[in-house]
Symmetry: C2
Subunit: 332 residues, 2 copies
């Protein structure tokens, strides 16, 4: 899905602000050295879906339209959300040794881990600096809490690599860290910028969290169904990388003793060939692991809709509702 | 030099507070997962010289003794300074592919780049979270500015690797980023915690900056003289890694055309054997590159002493003066 398509449809109510975010993302690196500028600009370049900035802008708009000053602040903070997201993507590509990101070589593949580590650090530090200049401690807290949760979740994922006995609780902690924490922060910050009531702030933060968990669960389900042309990676990549996600948790709960033994054998293999992947796919199919994951997705998205019902109707609120549908239906 | 020796001598006036910092450094990881706890604790473990926490505590004490509450805050913030330092060390070890750190295997060597990237990110995010809880925006700004400067300096160093034409200005920017920015922030924050006047705050921040530049310049000089047993790395490591530091800048300014050609050839070689290192050492010796560096060190340390003269005499202020002497004389 291209950014353009989302802007014309889903995010049309904030299209102008999203363009302003893209412009704003040029500024943080303007006074830095040539290499830093090149790599940071590459990492921030359009091509991403800008879901976190959009969430922040929509949450702000749904909480009331405070005029040009508020809009300006929301754009700045939406850019910060994207900078933080870009920082984690750069570092994730080192962690996962990914060669590709958003259809291009990853920064890690192009400039090496040394440059990538530092550019990620720069983007995060620069984001904090912008938040300090903005001057709202509650907003700083929202982002700081999110990044702590993100790093805790990512390390937990490494700790539980290849662990078929992973609990649903730990899995959800990882999912929250990977995706939901920053989405929740973005929605919370949007509400804070608009001076929303505590009730609305918490409702939108909870909405972002549920939406984010649903979003990541769909990702984890798609890993077992999506075709290579779409995601740019083969089916079962997560399992190959040792990441045990909900479809496999479902298998471990419902599969026969013999099938679980097969799964354990696959998980312990250093490398999976095509035959192994066929065996994995067959298990996922036999025990309907993808539909089971989508049932959990539906639970979280139902929660997201309920949480959103605390927010008064408006074009922005309706766009947030459509975002929920979109997360359910996406298959790019 | 062991931590114990510094605590008994140089830092004796804040010895109790430094012990409190060590205890405080256990807390930030207490509620995180097992792997994160293990690696973060390893990275934060004693063995470092705790110069940044000491600088913060001494600056606070030199700015006035505000009683137990202020002391408690200073300990918290000193722990933050060490967390940020530890975060950059973990990431630096990935950048430099260092196998050793403080006489032990680096986190990178022991747990891999994937874990190290994330644990560094965690320590930095957790540090920000603690600063948010502390609630002083000026302190957040001091640390945020320092980390932006640090990452800019580190990337600039990579950009100018093997570039014998590096300007002194760019070199000092790298030196500032590597060491002086965080030392300056530590001294500034110490003064801020103690509610010092703007004049004292700026004097101590400037002092930390000069001291830090002197500190790093000594490091860069020692790389060409220190024996392997002391630093745990061979002479000329910086040059081998492509890092052009002041001794080489001095050579490029003063050496004959023929000798500069030798230097250029050495800089372009993928790997230096013992004969190459002897040739490098001979050039450094012939043009007195180390004494030239130490003259620049003396300039910065003289500045540091002048800046410190704005601070009223006290045991803590005298300890800061001794820290200046110590930076000049250290050769561990």
């Amino acid at each position: 899905m291209s950014t353009v398509r989302t802007r014309d449809g889903l995010f049309s109510v904030i299209a102008a602000d999203l363009t302003a975010v893209d412009d704003r993302l040029q500024e943080p690196v303007e006074r830095s050295g040539a290499l830093l500028q090149t790599v940071a600009t590459y990492a921030l370049a359009s091509g991403g879906k800008r879901i976190r900035p959009a969430l922040l802008l929509l949450a702000a708009r749904a909480s009331g339209d405070g005029g040009p000053d508020q809009r300006e602040r929301a754009v700045t903070l939406a850019a910060v959300a994207e900078m933080m997201h870009a920082a984690t993507l750069i570092h994730d590509d080192i962690v996962d040794r990914s060669a590709m990101r958003r259809g291009r070589p990853s920064a890690n593949a192009r400039w090496g881990a040394d440059v990538s580590v530092l550019v990620g650090d720069f983007l995060y530090s620069r984001a904090i600096q912008i938040l300090v200049a903005d001057g709202d401690m509650r907003i700083l807290q929202a982002f700081a809490d999110a990044t702590v949760c993100m790093t805790e979740g990512e390390v937990l994922q490494l700790q539980l690599l290849r662990d078929l006995k992973i609990s649903e609780e730990d899995y959800l902690r990882i999912v929250t860290g990977k995706t939901a924490a920053l989405m929740s922060a973005a929605a919370r910050v949007g509400a804070l910028v608009a001076g929303a009531s505590m009730l609305t702030v918490e409702a939108l933060a909870a909405f972002g969290l549920s939406l984010g968990i649903g979003f990541q669960l769909v990702d984890d389900a798609l890993d077992y169904v999506a075709r290579q042309e779409r995601l740019g990676k083969p089916v079962g990549s997560d399992f190959r990388e040792g990441k045990i996600t909900y479809p496999v948790i479902h298998l471990m709960r419902t599969a026969s003793l013999a099938d679980r033994a097969v799964l354990e054998e696959l998980a312990n293999q250093a490398d999976l060939d095509n035959g192994d992947l066929d065996a994995l796919r067959a298990l996922v199919e036999r025990y309907a692991a993808v539909p089971a994951t989508m049932r959990l997705v539906d639970e979280y998205l139902a929660r997201a809709r309920t949480q959103l019902s605390a927010v008064p109707d408006s074009p922005a609120c309706r766009a947030l509702h459509r975002l929920v549908d979109f997360v359910r239906e996406r298959d790019w």
